[in-house]
Amino acid sequence: MSATPLLQLRDLRVAYGAIEAVKGISLELAHGELVSLIGANGAGKTTTLNAIAGTLATAGGELLYEGKGIEKLPAHLRLRRGLALVPEGRGIFTRLTVEENLRMGAYCRRDEDGVEADLERVFTMLPRVKERLQQVAGTLSGGEQQMVAIGRALLSRPRLLLLDEPSMGLAPLVVEKIFEVIRSVAAEGVTILLVEQNANLALEFSQRAYVMESGRITLAGTGAELLADPKVRAAYLGE
């Protein structure tokens, strides 16, 4: 692990008009880490992720990526620096085929050979996706769409992958498959910030985690620590 964290939030605030959804949070991601952000509905998890990706403006605080402030950087330029978001609810291009969707992920890249190589890599990681390359993406099942969305983000060759509730609306078996994919992505050295409602699964998978409540981070620790924490168990694991 290098000295400067890959991503650092310092007292970050995000507001929708007069309503502050994220009320000053601080967190850190080191290179290669898999960190999750868990919490109930409306805690501000998605808002935080969108602020990091640049699709929402910040209202205050600092957002450091590789040690540099990126608060003012527009979303499309953040992607070019290796910061990719898989939006909530998949957000795939429903009228394009699976292959077209994946290739759109490489929209900002110029190295054709690299793109082809990455495409192959994604295929080995997501065999289900490879079977359906010529299918229109809107006709895929929810789980397959999620895989396409992750694959598309990977084609931008990200250093930091922001995943927004990849388990949303999926059957438990499918969720497990998605998490296997996430694990293999992490194994390739991609740093991942995962937002999840499925706290149990997220904590099991992550090295570290933050718990968010009404716009603030209330707890932080390793996945195992938080899993054992009685407060977390009571609030999120139904015990």
Binding site: I92, F93, L96, T97, Y107
Partner: protein
């Protein structure tokens, strides 16, 4: 061009090469065929070409980028009035056409950006309302800017606009070939407009398969996801508005020169709706579709006008329904049946052969 040929029933799929030739012959020979029915039909054909240009331009915005624009005719107005201001006795200016037409296009593009900037965050219905308002604002300005200083000459409009003069050759005058043959200016205008249409088609086809075209397709499907894959959605949307407007501006300039007269009533909301209807009717997002849609919906009311009266007289002995009433009725019926039977238009986009921006395989990379 290819898509249009392929869309010709029966022949298109069996013999594409022959279909292409049929298409070329049709495009070149159209005014001659129209002449058989009378000179007014050649005039209608000229207008049809202008509508084709408008439909191509609006299709960029609505069909490619997915931004519903109900005030598109405003750009047509900007182009037409620019031409009228700079090439008519109104301001005593008679600038040459090759300067005025591009200026009209530039002003229309600027108007497109002016409309685009405040509406960047709007989508769907909300965007439609604002663009509708924009179209009306432009028309009302044209209508009322004759006071306190007379700029637009108000509802009377501006007349005696200079005709098109290409390299010193006034195409509003009949062309004499030898002593015997004269070519009516309506024909000359047709070929000038046809050339513009062909250029537009080539340009838009190239655009559709470019990075810009793919960015628009992405924004149309999911704007957040488009942002997430690194598309500068703000600039791409502004580009869609301004490029679409450019087509409107050029068509407007040609319209002013052709007609020799512009007035605000040519640029009503109904005209915006008419162009949108052409796109929806023909097949939104598909170049061949919108061309066919524009041609069909320009011709339909005219055919009706010529057919409805004699038919009614023959059947009932007198005219029961005014053709103008029938026109709206039949147009609405046509739209309803279209939406029921072919909701994606006459020649739908997204069928394999008509989705050039989504080419699969190696070519998709660049």
């Amino acid at each position: 061009m290819n898509e249009l040929a392929l869309a010709i029933p029966w022949l298109g799929k069996r013999n594409p090469a022959a279909a292409r030739w049929v298409l070329v012959l049709l495009a070149v020979g159209a005014p001659l065929i129209a002449m058989l029915f009378g000179k007014s039909w050649v005039r209608i054909l000229d207008f049809a070409m202008l509508y084709v240009m408008l439909a191509i331009g609006l299709n960029l915005v609505v069909g490619f980028a997915g931004l519903l624009d109900l005030g598109y005719i405003a750009f047509y107005a900007v182009g037409a009035y620019t031409f009228a201001f700079l090439a008519s006795p109104h301001f005593e200016l008679h600038l040459p056409f090759w300067l005025v037409l591009p200026l009209g296009a530039v002003f229309a593009a600027l108007a497109g950006i002016i409309l685009g900037l405040p509406t960047l965050r709007l989508r769907g219905d909300y965007l439609a309302i604002v663009t509708l308002g924009f179209g009306e604002i432009v028309r009302i300005f044209m209508n009322n800017l004759n006071h306190p200083i007379n700029i637009t000459n108000g509802p009377q409009g501006i007349n005696m606009i200079d005709p098109l003069v290409l390299f010193g050759w006034d195409i509003s005058k009949p062309l004499k070939v030898g002593d015997e043959i004269t070519i009516n200016s309506l024909f000359l205008y047709y070929y000038v407009f046809l050339a513009c249409v062909v250029l537009s088609v080539v340009f838009v086809q190239r655009l559709q398969v470019s990075r810009v075209g793919r960015a628009w397709a992405a924004i149309r499907d999911d704007e957040l996801a488009a942002k997430a894959i690194g598309i500068n959605t703000r600039n791409m949307k502004l580009l869609a508005f301004s490029l679409g407007a450019t087509f409107g501006g050029v068509a407007g300039g040609l319209f002013a020169a052709f007609q020799g007269f512009v007035s605000p009533e040519s640029f009503s909301l109904m005209e915006s709706i008419a162009v949108l209807t052409m796109i929806v009717f023909g097949g939104m997002g598909n170049l061949a579709g919108v061309i066919v849609g524009a041609l069909a919906l320009t011709a339909l009311p005219e055919v009706l006008r010529h057919v409805a009266v004699p038919v009614q007289q023959a059947v009932f002995g007198h005219v029961l329904l005014d053709p103008e009433v029938l026109r709206m009725l039949l147009l609405s019926l046509a739209m309803i049946f279209m939406m029921l039977l072919r909701p994606a238009g006459l020649i739908p986009a997204y069928s394999r052969y008509s989705r050039p921006e989504l080419v699969v395989g190696k070519e998709a990379g660049r």
